[in-house]
Amino acid sequence: MSDVTATRPTMSIGGLWAGYQRWPGWLQNLTNATLGMGILLFVWWIGGLLIASNPDTQAFANFAPGPTFQALWYLIETGSIWETIYSSLYRIMIGLFWGIVIGVPTGILVGYFLMVRQIANMPFQFLRMISPLAWMPIAVLAFETWDAAIIFLLVMATVWPIVFGTAHGVQRIDPNWFQVAKNLGADGYQMLRRVILPAIAQDVFAGIRLAIGVAWVVLVPAEYLGVTSGLGYAINDARDTLDYDTLAAIVVVIGLIGYLLDATAVALIKRYSWRVE
């Protein structure tokens, strides 16, 4: 028994692997995450070298990591990026707000009442499959400002995942929870506040997480049109002025903020999750 465990670590692949397996989970996670980002940067860097070495694409050499991060630093130093980020985040938040205000109650109705579910299912599945961007011409006709049109697109993007997430959560509620609460004297509001909302919170946030993902992806192309602020506009503007390093820097910013938004949603899901694995 004791001689088996007393082997000395050697510099073989097997030895390294065994050593890695003994690391705590968070360290493995951190190492792998760093490795992943390293690979991404490396591929980007190689891509930059290839672009620079080809006479046909040389003009785009500023897409490489070096110029990009310089441009990013410049954007941060001069502070011009914050205004841009603020405009985009503002639109996302308003879109998400309406998505939640419309989506959660609708989802509760759909999840709770079989008849509503049967009525709503086909139209909702149909509408859900339409790219939010396909609504653009209609949005432009229907709304006076470009901003309102973009927010409408974002609502069309966010509402479906929230409706379906909420409905899914409601359907998974244990019917006994209603009976017990009724029995303990809960009125309608208390049932909502103490039973339904906490029971479905994690599924609602899972829907919101999906909604944020779709909204963020839709936002940039939506901002190509009409408006004169936001990340999408900034990308278009950089393209028109051939500032490829700035363009790439904004792409980095979009990815970064998207990641942070997603991480926030994941934290909320975790916070409101009550199921034990």
Partner: protein
Amino acid sequence: MTQQEHKASSIWIANLSHTFRKQTSPAIKDIELTIPKGQLTALIGRSGCGKSTLLKMMAGLMIPSDGAVRIGGHTVTKPSAKWNMMFQKPSLYPWMSVRENAALGLVFAGTYEQKKDSVESLLDMVGLSEHKDKNVQQLSGGQQQRVALARSLATEPDILLLDEPFSALDAFTRTQLQDEVAEICHDQGITMVMVTHDIEEAIAMADKVIIMSQNPGEIVGDLDVPLGYPRERSQPQFINLKETLFAEFEKIDQAKQQAMANAG
């Protein structure tokens, strides 16, 4: 029944029948039952004879198609904090701690702030002193059922309705909880109605056992249990009563099946 008797009884059921939707014959039929205040009643009968249905009607969770349940002179039409039903499964809220679950009825009534201490002492009483801050998912089945018991008692109900509340527990925990619940109800003057399949459970807890038969569910007999609390299960009187109840049940059951066979 006179008005006077009516007041002294806790639960009064007359001419109650129920036919479920889309069914042709009634699930329970012509139930007549008077349960005095503070009596501990056990309802026994074969699976499917309508015990749960009858109990849910007492709780106001179901409305009979014929007749009515009256409690304290009022027809029961909806649930109330005055009578509380405990189910076979504890159905606790997994996003709440033990304490929050136990306090829920008081939170609904808006009296939790005043009655905080009572929740604490109830949890102590059911043996959960060390688990008050835990999530209910971290408790064993027996501990969860105790939380449900504390939750039911916290609203200080006059009537406790139990639907096979211990059937999912091991024999040791089950006996212990049977004794505890019977004593609590007895000491606090709570009227208890309990549904069970278990003859021993009926004798261990009830003052009076009501026997139901099936097709349709009707009350076909009863038995008084003149024993004090706590009850020693090995004492001859206890064993005798158990045997009497079993014999009575078999006799009635056979008679009914005979009658049904004769009828066609």
